[in-house]
Symmetry: C2
Subunit: 391 residues, 2 copies
């Protein structure tokens, strides 16, 4: 049993490892954030409020020792007592040291809120913002001006994987960071296509960044680390539990400008990511598919029930965040009288003005004036025996 | 040149034919409506205003003779003069008589606004309401409580035709009248499926009801007339011009509770029907398809730009007019703590409460109380060495 929060990070090896994990940050601050990453499950709102209010170091000190530091209003006493009961079973100096060691051994770095590379959008999670991110690979890709989440079912169809690849490749080659969850199916297709065009991609994992999950994506994660980044808010060694998958989905939605669901079953976990996007007021897109395909049922549900935008191209995705491609010519307003004039004419038989008037239901005068106008465009011609239409 | 409007219908044969076309209506009124059907192209707003204000007989008398009958405000003088110039080339007693004769020879009847079978919704077209409808077949099907328009591209795919048939068959067997345009592709599939389940269907044609257009649907129209109805607002002998197709589309939209587009190209004429539905405040549905299919591009456009509802089943169509099927069970709210508890347990190794607390990030007390609760459901069991999860 520890007596004060500082014991959790009061360790010489820990401080030196913290320096390796982050050369440009205060090692005590790094160690304290790591401790919080060990203590809490993702999205712990009481921890979030405490960290927002006191910072990681003081929050440790307060939570595990000097409660007189607690600012008023951070959490109701009961919620705080319950939170301490949650955190205490994990309050172990060894666990914190192990988290650092494991991360260092796989070359992971630590990203902290406020860092230049910290995804801005995560701030919208407020007290549910992660306490840190563990990152393997090239975290610089997070500096991309635009980021899109392309997510979907593991049990994807060839159609879905092709569409995911098409959208992702197009967006990535335009400089957009492709964010996804590293799963089989749509996620994998999205990551791969981004890599394929030399673009940037980031995978948010539900478990630690030291373990490949799913194991069959070991090579994909290796490739992502070459020209992208693998991220997680839980320490190395953490299993990808169901809860952590759900919590991870909020990061994908928050770290991007828009979330696009390519394929999802009726009760797919992907809809959870979509729900996060909606509650964060992020634009949500869904790719339609055949209504006979169970793999598209969740997308159609998003279109019907969640007011998702129908996505058919990378251009549609860019429009989600207000980027519009070259101006589209306004659709020509049909000129009804012209349509009726042409309907009443023939390309073979010449017709007199009165005949054209009768057939079209237009007045003789209107037919005359229209014929004059469209003759200028070369669409009709006058012969001895009347007017013909030119094809 | 006729001197008064009444000359147009002042003909003994005409009156007797009018009696045959409608046994239960004033033959002069029928003849006057037929005359207007001959005089105007569909949707003529000046004629519509005049008929609304004076009735068909007086409107004829006023337009072609005694202008002192004209009520103030029906149409600006200039618009009226232009309208007369449009109508005059067609003002022929023979044309009116021919329209009646042709209709009678093919067994067509005349439906008039105000008739019990007159589709209520057409009234929403206001002055653009048709002056009458020519009907071949069993007009009684128009008395169905609900009517849905199922329309789409001529160049439909197998997918589109199957979906159209599926929706139409399902709706028709539930008593909904299936309204469409009699064209190849989606329209044909919708009509056929309705007939196939012994349901009711109505085809609105752009040309006269005496001619099958397209000619390849001759047999289909024959079948529709057996247990449904073929309708048109233009007289027998009229060609299905482009203008009349556009005008016909407004009838399909107005005569139904909702319009569903099953497949349509990016610039499909079907979008015109959808536009009419929207401007009449009729619910509009679109069936999605693969984004790689050009035949679905127009549907996706309706979903994106026209706020169409995504349709995946007949049930979705019925919801368009507010009919809802059996109540859907609300999706179970996930119990986050339970998820975390189960995540932390194993089906093989028994774990102690403290271990489960550490793994789940829940307090020992919360774990204890949750274990007690879920044990009641038989989802976990206590052994000598701790708790296991029961699968």
């Amino acid at each position: 049993m520890i007596a004060t929060g500082m014991e959790l990070i009061d360790d010489a090896e820990m401080r030196s490892t913290a320096r390796l994990l982050r050369t440009d940050a205060d090692p005590t601050e790094v160690a304290a954030r790591v401790a919080w990453s060990v203590l809490v499950e993702p999205g712990d709102g009481v921890a979030g409020a405490l960290l927002q209010s006191l910072g990681a170091v003081e929050a440790l000190r307060c939570a595990f020792g000097d409660m007189s530091l607690m600012p008023p209003g951070v959490a109701p006493p009961r919620a705080l007592a319950e939170a301490l009961d949650r955190w205490r079973p994990r309050a172990s100096t060894r666990a914190v040291r192990d988290a650092m060691r494991s991360a260092h051994s796989v070359g992971a770095r630590v990203l902290l809120p406020g860092d230049a590379l910290w995804p801005d959008g995560l701030g919208d999670l407020d007290v549910h913002q992660p306490v840190l991110l563990w990152a393997r690979g090239d975290a610089d890709v997070l500096a991309a001006g635009t980021a899109a989440a392309i997510v979907g079912a593991r049990a994807a169809t060839g159609y879905g994987e092709n569409v995911a690849a098409e959208l992702s490749g197009d967006l990535a080659s335009g400089g957009t960071l492709i964010v996804s969850g590293g799963a089989y199916g749509i996620d994998g297709a999205a990551h791969r296509a981004a890599l394929g065009v030399g673009g940037a991609t980031a995978a948010f994992l539900a478990g630690g960044v030291d373990r490949a999950y799913p194991i069959g994506h070991q090579q994909l994660f290796d490739r992502i680390r070459q020209s992208g980044v693998v991220l997680s808010e839980v320490p190395c060694g953490s299993a990808p539990t169901k809860w952590r998958f759900l919590a991870r989905n909020r990061l994908i939605a928050a770290a991007t400008l828009a979330t696009v669901v390519v394929e999802a079953g009726w009760r797919s976990g992907t809809l959870n990511t979509a729900g996060h996007a909606s509650s964060l007021a992020r634009p949500l897109g869904a790719v339609p598919g055949p209504i006979t395909s169970a793999a598209s049922a969740g997308c159609h549900r998003l279109l019907r029930e969640y007011d998702a935008v129908c996505i058919t191209s990378a251009r549609d995705v860019r429009e989600l965040w207000g980027e519009s491609d070259a101006t589209v010519a306004p659709s020509a307003t049909p000129d009804h009288d012209r349509t009726r004039l042409f309907d009443a004419m023939s390309t073979r038989s010449a017709r007199e003005t009165a005949d054209i008037a009768r057939r079209s239901g237009l007045s003789v005068e209107r037919v005359r004036s229209l014929l004059g106008l469209v003759a200028l465009d070369g669409l009709v011609a006058q012969r001895d025996d009347g007017w013909v239409r030119i094809e």
